[in-house]
Amino acid sequence: MNRHSPTRRTGFVLAMAAAVALVATGCSPAATNSAIDATAPAKLTGTVSFWHFFSDREAKVVQSVVDDFEKANPGVKVDVHSGQDDEKLQKAIAAGNSVDVGLSYSTDIVGNFCSSGAFRDLGPYITRDKVDLTQFSRTVRSYTEYKGTRCSMPVLADDYGLYYNKKLLAAAGYSEPPKTLGELEKMAIALTTYIADGSIKTLGFNPMMGFYENAASHFGPLAGATWLKKNGNSAIGGDPAWTELMKWQKGFVDAIGYDKLNTFTSGLGQEFSADNAFQTGQVAMNLDGEYRTAFIDDQTPNLEYGTAPLPTADDHTALYGGGYITGNIAGISKGAKNPEAAWALLKYLTTDTGAIVKLSNGLKNVPTTSAALSSPDLEVTPQFKTFLDIAANEHSGTTPPSPVGAGYQQSFEDYWHKYQSGSGSGLAAGLAKVDKDIDASIALTAGP
């Protein structure tokens, strides 16, 4: 048989044409937002598909609030899909699966989900129902919108502060936590103990970038450091605040010794286990989120500890009291089958004081509305109170949404890791390269 017979060639061409047609049409996104009713429906009906990432005990807390919503809206049934991370959420929305409300653990998705339209613009609903956005702090408002488009609402927040072991501090003669990074280093070195062979036994504070929650994003507000310029390009290299933070951190690492710290750090337990180094007393002071209070209550209830805002850079003492804020966010998917009921659920989860307080008490995260923050029903321990204060502090900061998610943060941290080990280039040149890399990556996604 002729290897290039017309029949065979035609078949091949048809197969290729079919495949290309599939490519061109099969993955095209579904239709987006449609106009909304002038007034909110008096009675809601139908099913809402609600995807969130929580599991086990935390999923039960979320379910209890969903049950309350269903009781208040008898015509609505909420179909809950728990344990769905951002990747699954993104794929489900892209594939046109039934997702009405999606809840994510990361504010890093906001830039992409807003710009791609994966989450709808909530502006029309907010305007129509006169939702007061000033009930959220400026920082919280900033991480739930992208370039003026509000496509998500804050569910609960994570605030970061300093945990300190009262016993270990008292043994070294300290009664108060440090307020500047200089004080932190001095106290940490005094608190660090060694065994006979010179290796670390107890560490005052672990300065290693990448250790547990030691991330550039969490350090940034301590010096008021900025990530991105207004045009979306990187501001890291041009902001002396980052240089100050990095030099302090590297100096601290060098004061103890990179290898010594690395050996000690590698022997510590996993962050989200009962062997967490702060909980076991191997680290006297630690940077962590408010959720740690729940872990300590559950796993090491006898630990005598206090919490405080993170110390500020020595040249930025006026910022004391603030910290890094991020949190869970939720939005209505572009393919939502029942957007009115979805909006009702979203509004309930994010603005109803009773619902927010119940979620906060159950999940041990910080509420995001001013009413919930001051609610008498909010269960507040002295340690948890610190994080409520950080949430309300004007100097608290966050990471800006970007179309590349957390990609710009990772580029910076990649360099910071090299820098702390001594293998990075000179700081100014290194940061200039970081800027260049971030700008190129954002341009690839956002276009020229």
Partner: protein, 318 residues
Amino acid sequence: MTTTTAARPAVRRRPRRWAVLGMLAPAILGLLIFFVYPLIASVYYSFTRFDLVSAPQWIGLRNYVYLFTQDPNVWQAAGNTLWFVGILVPVRIVTALGVAWLLVRAKKASGFWRTLFYLPALVPPVAAVVAFVFLFNPGTGPVNLILKAVGIHGPLWFNDPAWSKPSLLLLGVWVLGDVMIIFLASLLDVPQELYEAASLDGAKSWQKGWYVTLPAIVPVLVFSVVTGVIAALQYFTEAAVASSVASGRATVGEGGGATLGYPDNSLLTYTEWLYVRGFSNYQLGYASALAVVLFVVASVVLLVLLRRVRAFTPEEAS
């Protein structure tokens, strides 16, 4: 050469052809849907700006230009992957062949030894990596404690960029049972008469190995190299789990991109980087370009390998 088979009538042949096509249809459909379509889709998306949700925008060669000239991590990721291809694959094959060669000669308790060397291959990869990170923990792991007891200051293993890949190499050698068992079967399959004939001809031990054993197991050797190279080009799970566990931030579901590559991107493989760009940075178009380049590289490597060994078939060698 002439054939004695008579041609069947065309009338009979046509229904038979449809029957064959009918039986092949599920496989062909599967091939079209799960191989041809994704392949063509990937190539198309590699020329677009695509975030999976909004419509792809055609941007020509921009993804490829970025890949080869601007991506800050792609060369390091490619270099790490090539390290696994160039070091892990040959070391695993040579060691597995050596172990199989020894096991063939084991006269006593051969079953026990064969089981012992095969057992690690039964351990799920994730569990094996977690166990290795624990064993090689610089501060508390048994390996460094033993080394310390004999006066040796052990390295930081998975926590040191210079040692992280060799640490995974040790793991790869430990779980060589799958390759070893294939070599064992092929070595046992070499006809004894050939060895006897070689002995009669006065062949020495190494000559028997070179002229008898090696040609006989060439097909198995080729199979092992090809599958090993392909697996190494797609190396992901072991590196990802090692990074995650060694960094102390092992979490389920949240922020995987932050720990991939730890320490200092020394374990960042090409496929991990592809995953990060696609699903953490939402750059599916660029991730498709990375996938296409990987496909082309794997295809070229495979073609070169197969062409190189074509002259080394048992017939040629003999």
